[in-house]
């Protein structure tokens, strides 16, 4: 599974791995061997160099051929880099392990050491890059929850925690870091998502104008737009659902935009070339490391990536702990006014948290946009599918005309994602749709008949909750009209889906802090990621059957429940703004026509800044440059190893 949430990096022995052999070493410039005889041995010298030595020559040709006895050919070292791995659908687990060693808090520590005490060693050039840290809001929420639980103290508001990290890392001996969060980048990403949505609408109506003059080779994709901010989902889609890629939003994720923003925009303002900046991000998920390694985020000209190193929340915490950070120690930045946060130390506005979801509010931003651009009042109907907050449908409609303005969904977690894939495949005809497409006439006829029967007895779909936003409501609508409305809701195809691979979304990312266990609080032995070691044997609980839900911490259940509550806690903290003010997540009032007025001063300023940046970028780089700044592309990863079609390369194997 390509999902960070399901992976434990500490358990990498995976007998599946060899089934899809890595062919990169085989492909790499296989030089013609001049040793025509098959029998050779590989020798390894004391420096770990590999040599191919012909044994045949010495044994058979003997002393008559003295040259052969000395024949010793240094073997080329096979190198597999990240891009090779990204281009292969093979050993996902090993890819992950590679990433962890390439982008770890140790790398950042090495950087800090080299910048604070320049090496005397002539061989290594002195570290001159300026460091920049972008922290995701989910990371801050997780750290806040963790340290609160660990020390039994009240949780720190995210803004305060951010400023304390900023102050701590800005010290000269730690490298004079510039520290920002990724919400302003997300703000740009959200604005661009709205623009992309409108582009797709225009394209569908044949009214789209390519402002880049065809340079970019880009055409807006079809509906529904599938959010692409989650790298786990992107990874899965590219490997297993290649046919759905045209639907993926082309907008860069918040990390992607942050990369461009830091290296291209902030760097320019600070007089630095992209390769003169060391950009580190702190993310809730391991797959963000994969995302940062994508070729779109690499600058050939400057041989540098937009994001040089991605740390997970857990790794950022390890780094800060190694450096001696105490989140509860007051700093001079504590009472910084949030309104003037775009000062010398903060590169851009801190912690813009649009109402909606803790995974970025992509869907809610579009809902607000569609609602605001509709001339009449609109109403929002939401329904949870299967009573799960991870699978929710949003229907925005005009209560007067019953016109469905927008139908979206948030779909989190691998299981819901599977159903999304099936559903979208059915709606759009995309996807592999094997069996379904080849239905026999008789089966199709039977289904049609069954459907006709079902429709006559149609009832309210699911456990819906209609929230009239403003103006005339849905009161006293007669049953016929209600049925008509439901029919329209059902018939309307999906416009946008906020897809996240992790259940509960990014607050529950695989790289987040794990719940504080009594062991960790008591300072028991922990592994490199802060989990208690040794891990309990998953099989030993047969010996002492659990007593029930209250069965304590040692049982599976105790763990499960605390995890659920833990994610809930992080989610709550995500919404705690400056001074402990709650930003209501996805409040129903959101879609009212008056929404604009509720936006705070910070948002207005952020909008102005965003506007200015986009203009600046377009002025200097042109429309295509602007596109590259904010957008990206997705590629189907072919079953490279065996040349299979799409993900399942095994199909090519005869068994």
């Amino acid at each position: 599974m390509a999902f960070s949430g399901a992976l434990t990096i500490t358990d990498l022995d995976d007998f599946l791995t060899p089934s899809q052999a890595c062919i990169i070493p085989v492909r790499n410039g296989k030089a013609q061997s001049d040793m025509t005889d098959g029998s050779t041995e590989i020798h390894i010298d004391s420096d770990n160099n590999y040599y191919e030595v012909s044994t045949y020559s010495t044994a058979v040709a003997g002393p008559s051929n003295p040259k052969a006895a000395l024949e010793k050919k240094a073997l080329e070292r096979a190198e597999i880099n990240l891009n090779d791995c990204l281009a292969c659908s093979g050993c996902i687990t090993s890819t992950e392990s590679l990433l962890i060693t390439l982008q770890s808090h140790l790398e950042v520590l090495t950087y800090i050491n080299s910048i604070s005490s320049p090496s005397i060693d002539e061989a290594t050039p002195p570290e001159t890059r300026r460091p920049f840290l972008s922290i995701s809001p989910q990371t801050l929420a997780s750290l806040s929850a963790y340290h609160s639980a660990l020390t039994s103290r009240p949780p720190l508001p995210l803004g305060l925690l951010l400023r304390r990290i900023r102050h701590f890392l800005s010290a000269k001996e730690r490298g004079s870091w510039t520290v920002g969060d990724t919400t302003f980048a997300r703000h740009l990403s959200l604005r661009e998502s709205v623009q992309e949505f409108e582009e797709r609408r225009a394209y569908a109506k044949g009214k789209w104008v390519d402002r880049t003059g065809g340079q970019g080779g880009y055409t807006p994709g079809p509906f529904p737009v599938l959010a692409s901010a989650c790298p786990g989902w992107v990874c899965y889609a590219e490997k297993a659902q290649g046919d759905l890629l045209p639907l993926m939003s082309s907008v860069r994720s918040s990390q992607g935009v942050a990369g461009a923003l830091v290296k291209q925009y902030w760097g320019e303002k600070a007089g630095l070339k992209p390769n003169e900046i060391y950009h580190v991000t702190a993310m809730p998920c391991y797959d963000k490391k994969l995302e940062a390694s994508r070729s779109d985020f690499y600058s050939e000209a400057h041989t540098t990536r937009d994001v040089d190193c991605v740390l997970t929340t857990g790794e950022l915490d390890l780094l800060l702990q190694d450096l001696g950070f105490n989140p509860y120690a007051p700093t001079p930045l504590d009472h910084f006014s949030p309104s003037s946060s775009a000062s010398a130390t903060a590169p851009w506005p801190d912690l813009l948290t649009p109402a909606g979801t803790s995974s970025g509010s992509y869907l809610h931003t579009l809902l607000a946009h569609i609602s605001a651009s509709h001339p009449r009042p609109s109403a929002l109907h939401t329904r949870k599918l299967r009573d799960s907050a991870d699978n929710e449908e949003y229907i925005l409609y005009d209560p007067d005309t019953n016109e469905v303005l927008f139908k979206g969904a948030k779909v989190y977690g691998f299981r819901n994602l599977q159903n999304l894939v099936r559903r979208v495949g059915k709606e759009t005809g995309l996807g592999r749709g094997k069996g379904a497409g080849k239905l026999g006439a008789a089966v199709a006829a039977r289904r049609k008949k069954a459907r006709a029967g079902a429709e006559s007895s149609a009832s309210t779909p699911g456990t819906g909750a209609t929230t009239p936003a403003s103006g005339t409501g849905a009161d006293g609508v007669e049953v016929g009209a209600e049925l008509e409305r439901l029919k329209r809701w059902e018939e309307k195809k999906m416009d946008y889906v906020e897809v996240m691979a992790c259940p509960s979304g990014c607050v529950n990312g695989g790289g987040q802090m794990k719940p504080v266990t009594p062991a960790a609080a008591a300072g028991m032995e922990v592994d490199e990621e802060g989990y208690p070691r040794p891990m309990p044997d998953p099989g030993t609980d047969t010996a002492k059957p659990k007593l029930g839900k209250e069965g304590g911490e040692d049982g599976e259940e105790g763990w499960r429940w605390s995890t659920k509550e833990w994610v809930q806690r992080v989610e709550e903290l995500y919404w705690v703004g400056e001074g402990g003010l709650l930003t209501p997540p996805g409040s129903p009032g959101l879609t009212g026509g008056v929404e604009k007025a509720r936006e705070g001063e910070a948002e207005v300023k952020a909008d102005e800044l965003a506007e200015r940046i986009c203009r600046d970028v377009e002025d200097t780089l042109g429309p295509q440059g602007r596109w590259e700044f904010l957008r990206t592309r997705f590629r189907k990863v072919e079953g490279d190893v065996l040349g299979g079609e799409g993900g399942v390369t095994l199909e090519a194997v005869t068994w």
Binding site: R415, K434, R451, A543
Partner: protein, 465 residues
């Protein structure tokens, strides 16, 4: 002393046959194979097949059921079909393939003139007024029930379930047919909910096994799913009322092996020739031959210390016990220790059974009466080519009630009652499946299939021929 009697060996698959299953409602048997086909066989039971009492086995000389091949479904699976399962309705068939997909099959509706009103399912149809010509095996038409299926129509793949990343190993329907589960080498167990219009919605992806998931088995009447893996664990899963599908217990085999408990010959009580020869054949089948003993002494392999793969699972008909078959050939019995859906299970027995991996288990009603503590008959088979039938019983107290309260650790006895060597020649036996009908007919009829592509049907008979 009962015995296994071969009653049919219908036409073989071209390549290894992996699974067999009797349709729960219709007189059909299905088998699947590496040749990417599903073969359907019709069976008809003799009129004398009604047992004397519910659990008695027929006499060896009584009329035999008749089985013949009626249809071959050429599937679109790209690789081996590893498993198949009939929905409880008998109308739908699921196949799980090494191409990572699960396919759902339904029989096409009648061609308009007859199928509609009558219903295609024809459960225990009354005798057809006219004989179908050219049907070679209709010589037993005097039966008043359980006639063979004559008009098996085309079967069509109505949907394909994708999601597994590698070989699907087992598929299974829940007791009421509302859920379908599949497991795979990708270490995951998926649960699908059956929707109208042959649609399926994924409701759970359980990824807690650390290795290949070999087998799964649904509880006979509750929504509890057991899965067995190469990681040597059995996971017990359910739909937590307070949450999602999750594991409520991970079972890890621990009990040491105990020797096969061959029951004393009851020939002394009724010393008939048949009894003695049946007993002798059982002993011969179960005990190693001199050659095998000799080979063993030469090899002298120390017992493996590491955990063993769990290959197979089977629930007792009552749902209180679960049997598992291991890589070393032993069979373990697990008992539920409470009355809650997620009551924990404990390992209560581990008996030597096969000399190599126990690939398959099937547990059905039969044999010793329930009142006498009978828990049914368990069939096992595996890489050693043997098929063994076990009588499972639990001690009962004088008043007929089970001696143990369910909360305590129940006791069971596992006694072999019939066994056969080289059931499919030298080939590994991959699957066994009991015929189980609502009317109790055909008790003790067992199908098996093997690596050589052969499918055989056996029955447990009360005595030797």
């Amino acid at each position: 002393m009962p015995q296994l009697q071969l009653i049919a060996s219908p036409q073989s698959h071209a390549e290894p046959a992996w699974a067999v299953a009797f349709n729960p409602k219709r007189n059909l048997l299905a088998s699947c194979s590496t040749d990417k086909t599903v073969r359907l066989y019709s069976y008809s039971l003799p009129s004398s097949s009604k047992p004397v009492h519910q659990h008695a086995f027929p006499s060896a000389s009584s009329d035999k059921p008749v089985i013949h091949h009626v249809k071959t479904i050429e599937t679109e699976h790209k690789r081996t079909i590893r498993s198949l399962a009939w929905a409880p309705s008998g109308k739908t068939l699921a196949t799980g393939s090494f191409d990572s997909t699960v396919a759902i099959w339904e029989e096409l509706d009648g061609d308009g003139d007859e199928g509609e009103e009558e219903g295609q399912e024809g459960v225990y149809k009354p005798k057809a007024p006219t004989k179908v010509s050219g049907d070679v095996d209709m010589d037993d038409d005097d039966g008043d029930e359980g006639q063979g299926e004559r008009d098996v129509k085309e079967w069509e793949c109505v949907t394909t379930l994708e999601g597994h990343e590698s070989e699907c190993k087992t598929v299974g329907w829940s007791a009421d047919g509302a859920l379908l589960a599949s497991c795979s080498r990708d270490k995951s167990v998926w649960v699908w909910e059956v929707q109208p219009d042959s649609d399926f919605e994924c409701i759970a992806v359980l990824m807690e096994h650390s290795q290949d998931v070999k087998n799964l088995s649904w509880h006979p009447h509750e929504e509890i799913l057991a899965s067995a893996s190469y990681d040597s664990h059995i996971h017990m899963q359910w739909d937590d009322p307070d949450g999602d599908w999750c594991i409520f217990q991970k079972l890890h085999p621990k009990l040491p092996l105990s020797q096969i408990n061959i029951p004393r010959s009851d020939a002394a009580a009724s010393p008939s020739q048949g009894q003695i020869s049946a007993y002798n054949s059982l002993v011969t089948a179960l005990l190693p031959t001199p050659e095998e003993r000799e080979a063993e002494t030469y090899l002298n392999v120390p017992p493996l210390l590491e955990d063993e793969t769990v290959w197979s699972l089977a629930w007792s008909p009552c749902g209180r016990f679960l049997a598992s078959g291991g890589d070393l050939g032993g069979i373990r019995i697990w008992a539920r220790t409470g009355n809650n859906p997620d009551s924990p299970f404990v390992e209560i027995a581990h008996t030597a059974a096969h000399s190599r991996s126990c690939f398959t288990l099937a547990w059905a009603q039969g044999g010793t009466l329930l009142a006498a503590g009978g828990l049914g008959i368990l069939a096992s088979a595996g890489a050693d080519g043997k098929i063994i039938v076990w009588q499972i019983t639990t001690p009962v107290s004088a008043d007929g009630a089970e001696a143990d309260a369910p909360s305590k650790k129940p006791k069971v006895s596992i006694a072999p009652i019939a066994a056969i060597r080289e059931a499919h020649g030298v080939a590994d036996v991959n699957c066994v499946s009991w015929l189980q009908r609502e009317d109790g007919g055909g008790q003790g009829v067992l199908a098996s299939c093997a690596d050589d592509g052969s499918v055989k049907v056996w029955r447990v008979v009360a005595d030797a021929e």
